[in-house]
Structure formats: C-alpha cells, structure tokens
Symmetry: C2
Amino acid sequence: MECLLTKACKGRPREFDVDQALAAALRVFWIKGYEGASLTDLTQAMGITRPSLYAAFGNKEALFRKALDLYEREKLAYVGEALNAPTSRQVVERLFRGALAAQTDGCEPKGCMRIIGSLSCGPEAESIRADLMARRQSSQQALCARLEQAKSEGDLPNDADVNGLCAFVGAILQGMAVQAGSGASRQQLEALVETSLGMWPGR
Amino acid sequence: MECLLTKACKGRPREFDVDQALAAALRVFWIKGYEGASLTDLTQAMGITRPSLYAAFGNKEALFRKALDLYEREKLAYVGEALNAPTSRQVVERLFRGALAAQTDGCEPKGCMRIIGSLSCGPEAESIRADLMARRQSSQQALCARLEQAKSEGDLPNDADVNGLCAFVGAILQGMAVQAGSGASRQQLEALVETSLGMWPGR
DNA sequence: GGCTTTCTATACCGCTTAGTACATAAGACT
DNA sequence: AGTCTTATGTACTAAGCGGTATAGAAAGCC
C-alpha cells in the first residue's frame, strides 16, 4: 500500500505522538527552566526513552527551541492579536488582560517561559539566553512601532515618550510574570492590571 | 600573648580575608545565580580552596545565604531608606531612582539577585527559592504598610487601591531588573523610571 | 520469505557536580 | 622544647549530567 496520511512510510513506525511529547516537554521546561529540566525529567514526562528523544528532536537544545516555538504559538498568541486593536489603550488592555488570563489559568504552570529562561544562565545556556532575549526584544519593538503609530494618529499625546511607555508595558508584563511565579494570588494580579490600566495616558 | 583583636586565637590562623572572599562569592552568585555558580567558579573567584570554603562557610547553600545577606545589606540599603521619605511620591521616587542607580552602576553586575535566584529552580534550589520569595514578599508588605499610612494621611486619594499600587511599584522594579539583565541601555531604564513616576497618582 | 529501514531499550561513555579524607603546615599555650 | 588546635592542599568519592553505541523489534517493499 502507499502511504497517504503518515509522512514516513518505511521502517518501524513511531510508538508515541510527537506533538503530545513536545507538549509534555514544554510543561517541564516551563516549570523548571532550560537547565533545571534534566533529560531524566523530560523523558519521564514525555513517556519515551532517551534515544527516542534524540532521534525525534535532535538534542536538548533543539527540543527546547521547538517547545518554545509551541509556547509562543499557543500561549503567547494574544500578544500578536492585541497589537491589532484599534486604539493604544485597547492594545495595552488586551496585553494586560491576556497576560492575566494566562497567569491565572489554573491548570497551566505559572510565570513566563521567556523570562524564566533568560535569567538563569549556566555556561552552556548562553545561546538559549541570547535567543530568548532576542525574541523578547522583537516583541518590544513591535509594540514600540504600534505606539508610535498611535501617537501619529493622535491616539497618544504629542509629548508622550513612546520608548518609556513601551518599557512601562514590558515592565508590567514582566513584573506580573515574576509575581505570578512567586505565588501571587489572582486578586493581586487583577489589582496590578487594573491599577496599571488606570494609569495609561491615552483615551 | 592574649588574643585581643582576632576572634579565634588558637590554631593556625586563616590566610584569607573572610569578608573579601564573601564579597567575591556574592559577585559570582549575582552573575550566575545559585545553581549556575559552581564550586569551581566560587573558589577561583574567592582565591581559596574547596576545604577552606567549607570550613569557613559551611556549604554552598550557607555561603549563598551569607552572600545574600551581604547583598541586601549593601546593595538594597536604599529600599529601607526610601520608605522613610515624607510622602508616598517621594517613597516611590527614591525606590525607582535607587534601583536605577544600582542597575546603571557600571562596575556592578546587572539584574537583581533576588529575582534572578527566585526563578531558576533546579530540584535542590527549592529552599533557596522559597527564601528569596519570602524576602521579597516581606519588602512588598513593608511598602504596602507605608502606602496605607500615606492614604490615611491624605497623601494618596481616598479611593486609591493600595494593594494595586504596591503591586505596581513591585512590577516596575522587577521589570527594570529583567530589562537591565537583558541588556537594556541606561536611556531605556531612565525612560522607564520617568514614565512610571509620571503616572503616580499622589502629589 | 528475505531485505531494508526505522524505532525502541539496555547499558554504557566521559564529564562535571557538591562534598570530604587525609596528611601536612602554622600559629598559640604550657 | 612539646602539644594542641586549626587551616591548607591534594586527591578522592558518589551521584548526576548530556549524549550515544549496540542489539533487537516492527513495519514496508521486493
């Protein structure tokens, strides 16, 4: 028979679901960070053995990057959507509320994977760290551009410091992740969001 | 002869300065985090051998705690002083500017040791993590109490949400530490501080 | 049936980690 | 002197790390 649905048709078929295993790996990395997650942790959570992991994903670093891609695709989708909101106020409102929803989900780990990973830093994780920092900076620049546009549209005051506002939004999001990772309650995070939103200058 | 100045008088005298060695250990922990700092890193930076370290400080965890005490005593002194400022506005202004000065010192490592350590988290660092979280929460509560006092003095609006404002200040400080650790420039951090200060409600 | 190809499992590699035994060196006390 | 106490340097341990060699098992193709 020919092979229609499955990509690989020759050889022994894989006995586990790659996406499912990657999702399990993501949770481990999310909770423990890149260096804190050992191969033993990962293989146990994924339900596969070490050679299977290497055959399917390459190595630990490649696995982390694929898990990070999945994380950004699924858990950080609200960021891209928020930037499309019509006014700058709605942009930051969606950013803050999206982050709040993600942090108070209940069944998901707390904290933000981008931030957790970018701070730890043993000697071998340096390239991971650089990658995470670059990804965060890219988001920051996208927000900056969006706020610049808002300013030119009269949506923000003429004397607004876009860089400062941008750093401000980033700081609130990062602070929320830190506080959520430190066991802050839902009410505390909601208070943070409401207070910060109340301070936003635009209409 | 009797022993006047030095505490231990019997036995072979120590050949290194304990405070100096602790300061060197602090820098290593500060840069690399608890788990990222290996005993080899530490002993090399401190200029002592492994058994000397264990004789003088106990073990790696005890050394970290002593280094953390030193860090809070020397580098976080501005926090305690800031709380004594006469108005809530001046309190947060001193907090923000103190953090900014610490992050842009130039000869000091970037980022905040409390935050760096509390996020990494391998299996053995769990008690360290809990300790760091507790210390941060204690500072947070002190700020909360100070803002509550400001509210009762009419220094903050009657409808101000003290918990929200407190979480806000913490988020800015945490976000600043994250951004400084990610290589943000001095201008960016200054813009963050000015923008955030401009949003503070009280007079 | 054989052959090829791919996945799985056990068992291992070299390396680094935190922590320590042991012998020696150096000061203080009698 | 001699002894006691403590610090030092070398060399070691057991355990964990990321990564892999090798052999067997399971599918498609001829």
